[in-house]
Symmetry: none
Subunit: 203 residues, 4 copies
DNA sequence: AATGAATGAGACTTCATTCAT
DNA sequence: CATGAATGAAGTCTCATTCAT
């Protein structure tokens, strides 16, 4: 099931939207079919399972969302900020996509998806960790020789990813009423700032 | 429903355990009653609702867990580390309590709980934020006068809390097979280190 | 689930009746509940599964039907005839019980029942085989010394049991319109007659 | 629908195989079409109904199986044994054909097939009965004049057919793990032996 | 304080079949 | 000759909840 048919794509899109609105619980085959204007059995022409739909959804979300948010070579604090700026803008524009931030909620429900989700989560964290490692390897402008207590990139990635997740979650809990982009930017800023040292920057 | 009766407390305890094992989906009135060795209607003698049980659970979790994890007076990096050390030890010993870290997942299911959960989440973050603010206010040894680009305490709290959540989540997804305490400590360390570390280095 | 409650017994009785009328396909939880004047979920208070109902049914059918049809010590041709006379009478009176003769049809549908059914079938055949063995061991009145080509009791049991099954089946296929007792008696007679030898008897 | 087209024949063949594997329940239009590498509607080009497929199947099975198993001229015990030897060999080689032995199980599901099945079953029994009658009519070597208690051929046929069915059924329930030919031969032997055996002995 | 029995709503899924193309 | 898309009916089962006792 590498390539989705048009109809499959349609189904997945609606599924994303519905989960965005009512959580995983809000996505039932009945409601999904109603939203598509067909009966339930029709869905089973296109996907074997509800699980298959969710799996396709994960794939799509990863491809669409995270591949539209490249995070590569540069690996500068500014690149990080820009990266998450794009993410926050995307979520603000299409809040249902916030689902992607909480992929892991699926795990509890469907063990078949657990592996997929774990892998996705790990992949994202590793991408970030790699970026941090690159940034640490490169000599900073203020570059002191003492590299003593350098924080491990993995932890930094976890902090940032976790922080972003939490902010997005609170934003959704509050009904998306406040400015995610602004709050998010402050968050990313906080981490990158501390990394380079507040005093190091302030001079 | 300020004070819980013994039976109510029993019910809530089992509910916590069950959610710890199978997520919110794993908690059904049927299974809960079976676990208690009674029939379902018996539960309705003690709680009006399933929602009421969850609400009581939130209260208990907050009181019990966070009162056992004080975070106040000192507000030093060491105090922070100690605080989270205690948390990780507690979770390792009784993994079901990890639920407390994901309280917010309830929100999607039951809108009645949404307010409670939002409040709890905010409260936790504020406690942390206050600690960070205190730490920043206190003149450091190296004490630079330039406080220009100091990261806001709220963001720091979000980063830390979010990072902790993410670590715990991965730990659970991996079946609690690795050493949460060690990994968690590195995480907390990463944040507190960066906060002070570069300052020391930049001279 | 050794002892059935009254309600369970009621359910099983109706289930037997329904299978008698429409075959295993004719037994659905919906129709069963309707016949009992309740809704479907009510059934699940009393049995965990549809399979559990069928399993209980097998137990009941074996207990009720075959223990009401003892086949023991005597083991004479006359006892055999009498035994099956009772069986045919029972089936004529309550045709739904004919189900018991075709227990094995369950096997294809539900693998969980396969063991039960195989065991039951084997048990019945062995009871018959034992009876035949006893009859062969006992010296016949005409008693020739030559025991050369004596047929094995197991095969005799299989022939009789199989023959009875087939007769009952045809009877049901024909809408129970002809006299099962008469036709059945001729069948049993045919086997017991041949066993002692047509000429041996005719003298 | 006297003559089947190639495609129809293909469909029927696969249907036989599928019923052989999973019983009548195992034969669905969906799975049948998948097996043939086409979609479901394609089947409806060739057969009006699922029932039509089953009907065609019955015809084919009768023609194919029973014309490969002639039972006529001689009508001696030896001919009987040979006949069933061929049957058991055929079933061992192609177990799916065992279906033919249980054609009657279809009746419950589809009333339209009931007549066909009844007829087939009766036909088989009559062929056997005729053989038995012929055998009885022919003067035996020992030829006693007393034909008084001679078992009726119809019952003998029912016993043999029923016994064979039962043996085959148990063989399938046991996963075709034991030697059907050997066990079957003993069965047929048991009936023919008793028929003539005691006669020889009684002198 | 608890039980036995039941319910309405709704979950996912399968089946034989049809229709336009 | 075949497909893609869909359907109505029905299947088993689960859930939170209620009511009389």
């Amino acid at each position: 099931m590498r390539e989705l048919t048009d109809r499959q794509r349609q189904i997945v899109d609606h599924a994303i939207e519905m989960i965005g609105e009512g959580g995983l619980t809000g996505l039932t085959m009945r409601r999904l079919s109603e939203r598509l204007g067909v009966t339930e059995p029709a869905l089973y022409r296109h996907f074997e399972n509800k699980t298959a739909i969710l799996a396709a959804m994960l794939t799509v979300l990863e491809a669409e969302t995270y591949e539209r948010l490249p995070l590569d070579q540069t690996a500068s604090p500014e690149a990080l900020v820009a990266h998450f700026d794009r993410l926050f803008a995307l979520l603000t524009e299409r809040p249902a996509l916030a689902t992607v931030v909480f992929l892991d909620e699926f795990a509890a429900t469907d063990p078949e998806l657990q592996a997929m989700v774990s892998e996705l989560l790990a992949k994202n964290r590793e991408r970030l960790a790699t970026a941090f490692a690159t940034m640490q390897a490169r000599p900073t402008a203020t570059g002191g020789g003492a590299t003593a207590a350098v924080p491990d990139p993995d932890s930094l990635a976890t902090l940032l990813l976790g922080g972003v997740r939490l902010v997005v979650r609170e934003w959704r809990l509050d009904g998306c009423r406040w400015d995610l982009a602004e709050r998010g930017r402050r968050l990313v800023f906080a981490l990158t700032t501390t990394m380079n040292g507040p005093t190091g920057r302030s001079e």
